[in-house]
Amino acid sequence: MSNDPEFEAFLRRFQPLAGAPLPRVAERRSRSRTWLAAALLLVATGLWWHLGPSRRAGSTSIRPRAASATWGALRDVVGADPQGLETTLERQAQQDLPDVGRRDGALRLLARFQNDL
């Protein structure tokens, strides 16, 4: 056995062992989703613990905080473009409150929202 092809053929009689099958993509994605859900739960629990009313006596609840932030953002929009807000409110009123059909309806809702805070 002097030439290369013959010796190579001899070597190729010994074939490498197969490896373990590849992990299934679906399993890996499912594992990723589980981790994501666990992480979200952890973040939500942390937020609840940090902002919840039971944490500190006399603290405000998370709901007014969120509403207050929303109202603040709304005031910023009004300051920036009062005409734009009015147009939007009117269009929304016509769409959501057809029986009222006037922007006064939406404005009344807005006023009630403010009073609720």
């Binding site: 056995m1 190579e8 070597l11 009689r13 010994f14 074939q15 490498p16 490896g19 590849l22």
Partner: protein, 162 residues
């Protein structure tokens, strides 16, 4: 000429066809079979995670990707390549079990660069040009490493082939 896009099934088919030889090459780079298999899995899972894979020449690409992955793993673990552990490299051939062990032992005794070339050429089916691209050396260097490596193997295994 445009390169064909590989589907998920085709990639998994490549793993079945080329995985064993890639793992053998990984053993040569990483020192043990478990780490080699992990590295090969990493290479294929990266391919499977891509939405669309276009490989002009899958074989040299996979060897090069495995080599880079192995180098990164060795760097990350701050471990120099150690000698191969005594894990089996080849499927036992009925009647030639001890010959298989001799071939493995002879491969282990080769200098690392010659062993890599021999593995890629004999069991991986790469051309010298493709081996040269994987190892970042001229094709002539890859060919001469192969000649030296094969010569040593032939000498060492003469008792099996005469």
């Amino acid at each position: 000429m445009s390169s064909p896009k590989l589907s998920r099934d085709e990639i998994e088919g490549l793993y079945v066809a080329l995985g064993p030889a890639l793992i053998a090459y990984g053993c040569c780079l990483l020192g043990d079979r478990g780490r080699a298999q992990d590295a090969v899995h990493q290479v294929f899972l990266r391919l499977l995670d891509q939405d669309s894979v276009t490989l002009r020449e899958p074989r040299p690409y996979l060897y090069r990707a495995l080599r880079n992955t192995a180098l990164n793993l060795n760097r990350a673990s701050a471990r120099e390549q150690e000698r191969w552990e005594e894990a089996a490299l080849f499927r036992p051939v009925p009647g030639l079990e001890s010959a298989g062990l001799d071939v493995e032992a002879a491969l282990r005794e080769l200098p690392d660069e010659q062993r890599q070339v021999v593995l890629m050429k004999v069991w991986g089916g790469l051309t010298f040009q493709e081996i040269a691209e994987v190892m970042d050396v001229p094709a002539n260097t890859a060919a001469s490493r192969y000649r030296y490596g094969l010569g040593r193997l032939r000498q060492r295994l003469a008792h099996l082939t005469e």
